[in-house]
């Protein structure tokens, strides 16, 4: 490598020694970042502070999608309560949430940041005078404007968050989203609870609708730090579980989108189909959400012929019926009238905010970790992402339908590769989870997974004895909440529930 300004990670997950991550002067750091951001498809997957005795180390991980690599580089600043750095957000808006997080956690100022507001009110935040009740909402003065506050407790059975609208009549001029109600100190618990079993259960609880996605990101990270690889069969099984999770949520969301436009027929038919899928996961591992299924080093639930048979049978049944009902949904004028053109996010906006996953793919961005940084069994699959261009509710609904079809095809493809179960037992191929793994010292691992919402990123850093001293868990929602705020601008406030559901973002995934 001739350019000494960064270290490249070409595997996913990938582990590097902390000492191998270049340290730049802040001005060089920013110059290099400008250069990297000029490349098509490059985006920031993690930018965080590693506190060290006397100084902060700021580590930045950029995904270069076209090159299928990660670029990692850092800068160092002495700990000083008056520490202020020129904000990167001012130039590259997608950094807004990373700088806000560092500001909230450590009190670091970012000069020129347009929106240095709380992200989640962590219990150990630098400024304890910031509390849930005094969030600095944006406001506009005007005799014809009014504000609408919704939440934290909402009408349905969903998680808490506060939405503050500034409206002109029925029209939304601005939406600000205040989160943090769900903060459980997950990242801190990963450090405090050092057992791998405890951490696996924690990873499954980051977002209970993305159990497989987060558990897989964690397991892969730990395996990479421990320097072990798992069998081909196990990688295949993990991806089958991940795609079953995607199918279940996407179908459930299709139902929920119908609910929000009072199309009960579409709702009940899809709800029943989702039930078939999550019951298949339960048949596999005893839990409808797949809790307990993904563990580092092995599995407690190797895929048996009986379950494979059920998966194939149920996929066939659900696919036929889902295609039938979605053909109906997407041809009804009353449905299209609500979906089309509602809640638009342009490609430009999506790219500016660093949107990931569904929010990116439905707004014309080619962004999918399964393609850009293939993990687990995706290494051999050459996955082509689904992409739509209009960025409206229709696109986000249609994306789900298309992804369901693709995931079903992926599962069928992968199931062909699961070799004979009896043979695997005799060959001792079925391995139990390993909770005694020794992790590489003074290292950093980055693990990316494309969950059903989008890019999940877990980063773990170990000390010189191989203990985890820092854990960063990023749910795609961290980026995508801003997409929802943009989508409802100039929309009728009555379309908010529909827009919200079309993104279906995670509160606890943001709040951690």
């Amino acid at each position: 490598m001739t350019d000494k300004r960064y270290i490249e990670i070409v595997t996913n997950p990938g582990t590097v020694k902390l000492e191998d991550i270049p340290v730049l002067e802040y001005t060089d750091f920013v110059t290099f970042l400008d250069l990297v951001m000029g490349e098509e498809g490059t985006h920031c997957v993690a930018y965080f502070v590693l506190p060290q005795p006397g100084y902060y180390r700021f580590i930045c991980c950029m995904a270069a999608d076209e090159n299928h690599a990660l670029l990692v580089f850092s800068h160092i600043q002495h700990i000083d309560p008056a520490l202020s750095l020129p904000s990167i957000t001012a130039k590259h808006f997608q950094f807004h949430v990373f700088e806000r997080e560092m500001h909230e956690n450590f009190g670091i100022d970012f000069a020129g940041h347009p929106w240095l507001k709380p992200v989640r009110y962590p219990f150990d935040r630098a400024d304890q005078s910031q509390v849930m009740n005094n969030y600095p909402f944006y406001s506009i003065d005007g005799e014809q404007l009014h504000e609408v506050g919704v939440g934290p407790v909402h009408a349905g059975i969903i998680e808490p968050g506060h939405f503050r609208f500034i409206c002109h009549g029925e029209q939304v001029l601005h939406l600000e989203i205040q989160l943090g109600y769900q903060h459980r100190a997950i990242e801190r618990l990963f450090v405090e609870r050092s057992g791998i079993l405890q951490q696996s259960v924690l990873a499954e609880s980051i977002a209970g609708d993305t159990v497989i996605g987060h558990a897989l990101a964690y397991a892969a990270a730990i395996e990479s730090l421990a320097g072990i690889t798992v069998s081909k069969n196990l990688s295949v099984e993990r991806i089958i579980a991940l795609e079953l999770e995607r199918i279940a949520v996407h179908i459930g969301d299709t139902a929920a989108l119908c609910t929000d436009i009072a199309y009960q027929f579409g709702q009940v038919v899809n709800e029943a189909l989702r039930t078939i899928i999550i019951n298949t996961t339960q048949l596999w591992c005893g839990n409808r959400f797949g809790k307990g299924l993904i563990r580092p080093g092995g599995s407690n639930y190797p895929l048996k012929p009986l379950v494979i048979g059920e998966v194939l049978k149920n996929l066939k049944e659900v696919e036929e019926r889902y295609l039938q009902v979605t053909a109906r949904i997407f041809s009804l004028p009353s449905v299209l009238g609500r979906f089309e053109g509602t809640g638009k996010v342009t490609t430009m906006q999506a790219s500016l905010i660093g949107a990931v996953g569904m929010a990116a793919k439905s707004s014309g961005m080619y962004r999918d970790i399964r393609w850009s940084h293939p993990f687990s069994a995706y290494g051999d699959l050459l996955y082509e992402p689904v992409m739509l261009h209009k960025g409206d509710v229709w696109s986000r609904a249609m994306l789900r339908k298309k992804e369901v079809e693709k995931s079903m095809a992926v599962i069928r493809e992968l199931l062909k590769e699961i070799t004979n179960y009896e043979l695997r037992i005799t060959n001792d191929e079925i391995v139990s989870p390993n909770y005694d793994l020794q992790l590489a010292p003074s290292s950093m691992v980055v693990s990316l997974v494309e969950g059903w919402r989008g890019e999940i990123c877990h980063v773990a850093i170990t000390d010189d004895e191989g203990r985890i001293v820092l854990y960063k868990a990023k749910d795609p929602s961290l980026h995508n909440w801003m997409a929802l705020a943009l989508a409802v601008r100039n929309q009728e406030i009555s379309d908010f529930p529909l827009c919200n559901k079309s993104f279906n973002l995670s509160y606890c995934g943001n709040d951690l």
């Binding site: 849930m132 808490p160 109600y181 903060h183 079993l197 027929f265 005893g286 839990n287």
Partner: protein, 260 residues
């Protein structure tokens, strides 16, 4: 016209989805429900799994007056149903598919070794107004206070076409003002503590409280977190504990029906 036939076709394949008898419905054997701990588990074995358990749900009764006590016990209010204790001691600990594990008495969630006994509601301890007022119609408001959205989705599923809890007159409502009680999910975070209290105050009396999921009952995997504030639970009395990670809709519905 063609459109109508399309819908009829879809409905024909949809068929009847509801579980006809929720009281006697059986889940596949691999479902993780009520555990059974065999009477011949040794103290050493119990100590191993107590150490292994990620949430400290297994307690070992050591020492002198052991003769009249079980060797160990497993607290379903703490358990996250990872089943690792069973994998570690197959034959000694076994999770059965018995999904009826809710109770109004916290202690009844504790399963002792050598004692095979269903988890049940103690009818004598159910507050009188619950049965007299809510038996035929119960409206509930749900509050997620740090819940991970799994229990929330299962509560939604209670009302879907498969489980259709509405058939018993039990429903979730949008406003606490319309509710007869709260169903709480999640370990109760500091940041949600005030909103939970306000929501509770807004429910007209008499009102009932249901804790849904191991996080809500004990904090679960988050019990040691510095970001929780569970003081609310000291101020109120709980009417029903529904263990699970997350609780299955059948556990929720049967638990509530047993209470009423």
């Amino acid at each position: 016209m063609a459109m109508i036939f399309e819908e009829i076709n879809i409905l024909r394949r949809h068929g009847k989805q509801f579980v006809p008898d929720l009281r006697s419905a059986v889940l596949p054997g691999i479902f993780r429900g009520r555990p059974v701990i065999s009477g011949d588990i040794t103290q050493a074995e119990a100590e191993t799994v107590a150490l292994l358990c990620p949430v400290g749900a297994i307690a070992v009764n050591s020492g002198k007056n052991r003769s009249d006590q079980a060797v160990c016990s497993l607290d379903l209010g703490k358990c996250v149903f990872c089943r690792e204790c069973e994998f570690s001691l197959p034959g000694k600990i076994q999770f059965t598919n018995d999904h009826k594990i809710a109770s109004n008495v916290r202690e009844r969630l504790i399963v002792s070794s050598g004692l095979e006994q269903p988890v049940s509601v103690d009818p004598l301890l159910v507050r009188r107004e619950i049965r007299s007022l809510f038996k035929h119609a119960l409206k509930l408001r749900q509050v997620s206070a740090g819940g991970d959205n799994a229990a929330e989705m299962e509560l939604n599923a209670c009302g879907n076409v498969n489980f259709d809890m509405g058939r018993y007159g039990i429903e979730f409502v949008a406003s606490p003002r319309h509710a007869d009680g709260l169903v709480i999910t999640g370990p109760i975070t500091q940041n949600m503590a005030e909103a939970l209290q306000i929501c509770y105050n807004a429910v007209p009396s008499p009102k009932m409280i249901i804790l849904c999921g191991s996080d809500a009952i004990s904090g679960g995997i988050f019990s040691q977190s510095s970001a929780l504030n569970r003081e609310f639970l000291r101020r109120i009395s709980v009417d029903l504990y529904i263990p699970g990670n997350p609780p299955h809709p059948l556990t929720v519905i049967n638990g509530i029906l047993d209470l009423l």
